[in-house]
């Protein structure tokens, strides 16, 4: 499985596809970025590995000549066995996959039926949102 992943990486890295397309005479460059997810692979007895490649595709059109180049700009390893110190570093590579927002207070949402949070003691619960919502809703 490992061989297969490395093969896929090498294949993408060297992929240059010159194609000829008639029509326009002016120079034009189109750049797009895509993510390619590899299959989850078993790494012996250590668990699973998954690799995501971030590929930048540049299409350069000059007159009738069109040239496409693809470059791997990042390699992410979102799933990786967690048995070594090195894996902690590799874990950080997965961070770009997460959505990143800013902590806010949400508007009052009348649909809320339960309130979750870090373990509530009874003292805290007595004045907690959950108690208030239960009173308000009479579920």
């Amino acid at each position: 499985m490992r061989k297969r992943l490395i093969g896929a990486v090498a294949g993408l890295a060297t992929l240059v596809l010159p194609t000829v397309n008639a029509v326009a005479a002016t120079a034009k460059t189109i750049v797009t970025t895509k993510r390619v997810t590899g299959p989850q692979a078993v790494a012996d007895r250590w668990g699973y590995v998954e690799v995501i490649l971030v590929v930048k595709k540049t299409t350069r059109i000059v007159g009738t000549h069109k040239k496409v180049t693809r470059k791997i700009t990042n390699v992410l390893v979102p799933i990786y066995p967690n048995h070594t110190d090195r894996s902690v570093f590799i874990n950080q590579q997965a961070v770009p996959l997460l959505t990143n927002e800013v902590l806010t207070m949400t508007q009052f949402n009348p649909n809320i039926e339960f309130v979750g949070g870090a373990t509530a003691t009874s003292g805290a619960f007595a004045q907690s949102l959950q108690a208030a919502i239960l009173q308000a809703k009479k579920i």
């Binding site: 949402n109 003691t121 959950q130 239960l134």
Partner: protein, 233 residues
């Protein structure tokens, strides 16, 4: 209807959309408390911790819980480790007890229910859940909506800095809370505890590679990092 009882040192809410909450559910929680409480001198866990009971002689359910805690230590690289808290499995028992209570409700034919055990929640059917703001306790930071969910949160904002990194015995830094969702509340709770103990630098990357579980990590600098399929409403 809903029922609230104070069991296992916390308020437990069981809500159903139709019918009654069976007595069996709270009988079960009281049984778990009697068996696993570290505050009850005669519980099996207390006897195990004092060395009066061998693990091999413990009841099947105690052995099952301890075996799962061993697995979770491996799955979390030692960040969830009951040995670091003198063999107290409470961090897993609460979620596990709720999972078993959910099975009782399933067997009783209840099709839409929610259980909230001190802020950790398990639902059947579609429910809307607010996640408490880690700094402004009377506010909601995020709304979660989904079918058949377990939702567990670990943070420093209720019982003080009670979660520590078992490797260093330090309180985690750079992190306010971690919420994990998935099919199983015991596992979600252990993952949330482990990720929180990892601190703000390690936790987000670790949660990104969990299988079958989604996560929302709130960092001390106010960033909220969620895995792509976290069930935000």
């Amino acid at each position: 209807m809903h029922r609230v009882e104070h069991v296992m040192g916390m308020p437990i809410v069981v809500a159903v959309r139709d019918g009654e909450v069976p007595d069996e559910v709270f009988d079960w929680f009281r049984h778990v408390d009697a068996t696993f409480s570290t505050f009850k001198e005669e519980s099996e866990i207390s006897r195990l911790r004092r060395g009066e009971l061998e693990r091999a002689e413990a009841s099947d359910e105690v052995q099952q819980v301890l075996a799962r805690c061993d697995e979770l230590r491996e799955e979390t690289s030692g960040f969830f480790d009951i040995d670091a808290v003198d063999g107290d499995p409470s961090g897993f028992v609460k979620g596990w007890a709720v999972d078993e209570a959910a099975a009782i409700l399933d067997r009783a034919g209840v099709t839409e229910y929610g259980i909230n055990a001190g802020g950790d929640i398990r639902t059947r059917g579609r429910w809307t859940i607010g996640i408490q703001h880690p700094l402004e306790r009377q506010e909601i930071a995020q709304v979660v909506e989904g079918d058949d969910l377990a939702v567990a949160t670990s943070g420093a904002y209720e019982r003080g800095d009670h979660v520590r990194d078992p490797h260093t015995d330090e309180a985690p830094s750079g992190i306010l809370s971690v919420t994990i969702t998935g099919p199983d509340l015991g596992t979600a709770d252990a993952y949330a505890t482990a990720a929180f103990a990892m601190g703000g630098r390690r936790a987000p990357g670790w949660t990104a590679r969990l299988r079958g579980y989604e996560a929302m990590t709130i960092l001390s600098d106010g960033r909220v990092l969620s895995t792509p399929n976290f069930p935000s409403a």
